[in-house]
Symmetry: C2
């Protein structure tokens, strides 16, 4: 099924493409922890210029099986969007629940400059965002993180918090012990102390940070109120679409809540359980110093993460900057570039002549 | 800059990709006229099941230099979107004014099944849509078409009207005579009688159909009222974004106006010159027989074409159906497909081991 592509398309016709294989090569060349830390820097830099972004809630096509979303944004110079699906029943049928790819383009001429897989990249940017938020919100000197849900996102979160927040121990729990075994195995060379737990209560005991990243696509109660002591930072990843939450409502009422983009989080996040006017703080305001993050040792802070388009934009910017240093990409003949822009038809005609004479 | 992609990704990880080169090969293998006629059948079939589509105006990111748009739609089984830019100043800087690419995906699992260039494909589908509309709206036995604007879209329109409507003569005019020479040259083997004209008046004289496809990105008057006799069908392609029109308002007031999707055409089409409640007929209603198209020999019919997402969807469906018969595609390693869906991190880790041991 492989056919040669045009041997001599014009340079303007070509768009760099990062496949899944090349994304893995980029991550393994640089190192996963370092990639996450560097993406975190791009994410924080973009949160610091929040006002420059053209922000819009995702454009979603819902069906009974799931959702397909387009997440566009622009900083005025560069435009980006992510295609991402979410299909809860996929895993049972042998498909990935979530797949994603993304594009960056120049605003001044509309030319795409990058097409990239984003299934792996989304995992990296989600972990980076969580850790950036925790850097501002978690108790100082946090060393131990409890992790409820040990699926696809788990190890990325663990590395991000090790690298950016300074944790040295993770306590793992999943209702499926095989998931915990998988995560513990994958983290065995990470330098983290990994403690596999038999209950959620055990996993959160003695921690300063709790990360919930379960995949249950309904309102679930992964954490109950009595499990949450004062001073904890909660990093809630799994509540990320309408009808899907992880935390008991009482926890939310005791917490100071931080979000990425309120119009999206009110619909998709943990706070869909609360009134529409329940006070929340936007993360960018904490990062820029306009408002404070954690203000006391007893405060419960909650990052109600749903994932926002600017984070994908930051991650794509980072990958775009790694193309030349790593060389891990191919070029796609994606754009038509006739010698005379008005002669699109002639370009097609001449391709016929060229291929029959060669 | 070319690196080998993963030699053995799972079948589920691969998405067929049609490059510009392969799109030209598909067109030249099947023949441009036949491709346009076949796309027209797909477009008409989809207009006939209009109610099944999830319709939404484009999602546009405007800048001072131009616009980048995402055009999604779905028929409940298949989802599609097109990325397309429009940058009027591009040509003067050596870039294409418009570039496009598109994606089809399965609604039931969210997996993309096609990534394709759409710069050429958009030209093909625009011509096919125009001809399908004219089949229902143009005077019977129309043989001569006047074409004002001989740019990138011109030859595709000429072939579409020859193939689908039965015209045998085109009269060409462009304010730049080089564009007319280019189009006349490209159409010399088409079987059409091609008449190059020195004025717009000359080009429309004696015609039954007038196609306007000029690129001027402002309100222009390509056709004035006195140029339009009774019984004419006008195929207005170039008025396709806010502030860009081609026809004098008085022509609109004398015409019965047919449009693709009123919420979009009111903003982008010729009818942006008219009141918001000016009566228009939707093309799908004509095709399904719910309302009549042309009802008299003296009537002036106007297809106010702006291009709608379902047409791109139809064109992508057609190309998807040509993949196996023509073989003109490559497969992109776009989707992550770990053996265990929860073990995304392990997949990345193992890629490192595999590449260092090979």
């Amino acid at each position: 099924m492989f056919h040669s592509t045009n041997p001599n398309p014009s340079k303007l016709a070509l768009v760099p493409f990062v496949s899944v294989d090349n994304m893995m090569k980029i991550v393994n060349t640089i190192g996963a922890s370092k990639v996450i830390a560097e993406i975190a820097e791009y994410i924080e830099a973009d949160f610091l210029r929040w006002d420059m972004f053209d922000k819009t809630p995702r454009v979603a096509a819902h069906s009974k099986e799931g959702v397909i979303e387009l997440m566009p944004t622009s900083d005025g110079e560069t435009y980006g969007f992510k295609y991402v699906n979410g299909h809860p029943a996929n895993m049972a049928r042998g498909f990935q629940t979530v797949n994603a790819f993304g594009v960056l383009a120049r605003v001044d001429n509309g030319y795409p400059v990058l097409v990239s897989e984003m299934t792996i990249l989304t995992a990296l940017r989600t972990a980076a965002t969580s850790a950036v938020a925790a850097k501002h919100l978690a108790p100082k000197n946090a060393r131990i993180m409890g992790m409820i849900g040990n699926g696809a996102q788990c190890e990325f979160q663990a590395l991000a918090f090790q690298q950016i927040v300074g944790i040295d121990t993770v306590k793992l729990f999943d209702i499926d012990s095989k998931a915990t075994q998988k995560a513990a195995r994958n983290l065995s060379d990470s330098g983290l102390t990994v403690i596999s737990c038999k209950t959620a209560e055990e996993a959160v005991a003695g921690t300063q940070i709790i990360t919930t990243c379960t995949a249950d696509k309904q309102n679930a109660t992964v954490l109950t109120d009595n499990m949450i002591g004062s001073g904890i930072h909660i990093n809630a990843i799994g509540g990320d679409c309408p009808g899907k939450t992880e935390l008991h409502r009482d926890i939310l009422l005791r917490s100071d809540i931080f979000v990425e983009y309120p119009p999206q989080t009110r619909v998709e996040g943990e706070i869909q359980q609360l009134d529409d006017d329940h006070p929340v703080t936007e993360l960018w305001q904490v990062m820029t110093g306009q408002t404070q993050g954690r203000t006391s040792d007893n405060q419960i802070t909650l990052f109600d993460s749903v994932g926002f388009a600017t984070e994908d934009f930051s991650a794509l910017r980072y990958i775009h900057d790694q193309l030349q240093p790593t060389g891990h990409f191919v070029e796609l003949d994606l754009l038509a570039d006739p010698d005379d822009p008005r002669d699109l038809f002639g370009m097609v005609q001449r391709a016929k002549t060229n291929s029959s004479s060669n």
